[in-house]
Symmetry: C2
DNA sequence: TTAATAGTTGAATATATATTCAATTATATT
DNA sequence: AATATAATTGAATATATATTCAACTATTAA
């Protein structure tokens, strides 16, 4: 295989590994969805909302008070979580009650927290800002 | 508890739930770290890199070719992944070989893909752009 | 020691997105 | 019907960040 078939300016050293890995790669769509899902979990406000809803179903006002944030902000985030199938809601009178709609959330939090526990020593400037 | 102790303009309906949840909330630092970790996984390029490294350790050039992206872009992302303790590397001659440095990645991918599988029906405009 | 190559890095740009604000909708109460 | 409340929504703003580009470092080979 000629050097120029590849995208970058390197002399390929591991042609077989590159080819095999390319063949095994799922279609981009899978990665897009997976990344989108993790991105949803990748926000402090949303992780707090999910932790809260793992304790009890709550109305928007409750969550806003637990987190000390505006109803509008919480509502926007709940919309995001709902559209991605992570929470669901039911309306009762004027209030809207939200609850978890994904069995995997607790599991993901546990694994995520395990990662943090094991990586708690400072990796260079990771914890700095 | 008076209405004004709470942050938002609602009349609190579930005072006990709000108080209990507040008491159970871990410190913000935990949520920051957890969200930061998930955010790292929440990018298509990085999920592709991690999938690739789950197959084989690879040098920067290999990964760039697998993904069809520039070395610079990949190197930036590898730096991000390394600082967050998700990948590690070893240098051999001119090349730098990267490999996974987190036992949880495969597990997280599996759970993430389960979520996607179950939520594959379109949730309103989630899949639109 | 000179040239070539693999990789890194900082700055710039373009894009995405979290929160705020103001306006609006839906429901309940008087 | 009129008012109050819970929640949603769209636009605006501010911030974060992915990729590109150009310059640079480290290592190998000539």
């Amino acid at each position: 295989m000629a050097k120029n078939e590849f995208i970058c300016d390197c002399n390929i050293i591991h042609e077989n590994i590159v080819k095999d890995t390319m063949n095994r790669m799922p279609e981009s769509d899978s990665f897009n969805k997976l990344a989108k899902f993790f991105k949803i979990l990748g926000d402090t406000t949303r992780t707090k909302i999910l932790f809260s809803l793992d304790q009890n179903e709550m109305c928007v006002c409750d969550i806003a008070n637990v987190l000390g944030m505006s109803k509008s902000s919480i509502s926007h985030q709940l919309g995001t979580l709902r559209k991605s199938g992570i929470v669901k809601c039911r309306k009762q009178g004027k209030e809207v009650y939200y609850m978890l709609d994904d069995d995997h959330i607790k599991q993901l939090f546990e694994v995520g927290l395990e990662h943090i526990k094991h990586k708690n020593f400072v990796k260079e400037d990771f914890d700095e800002k």
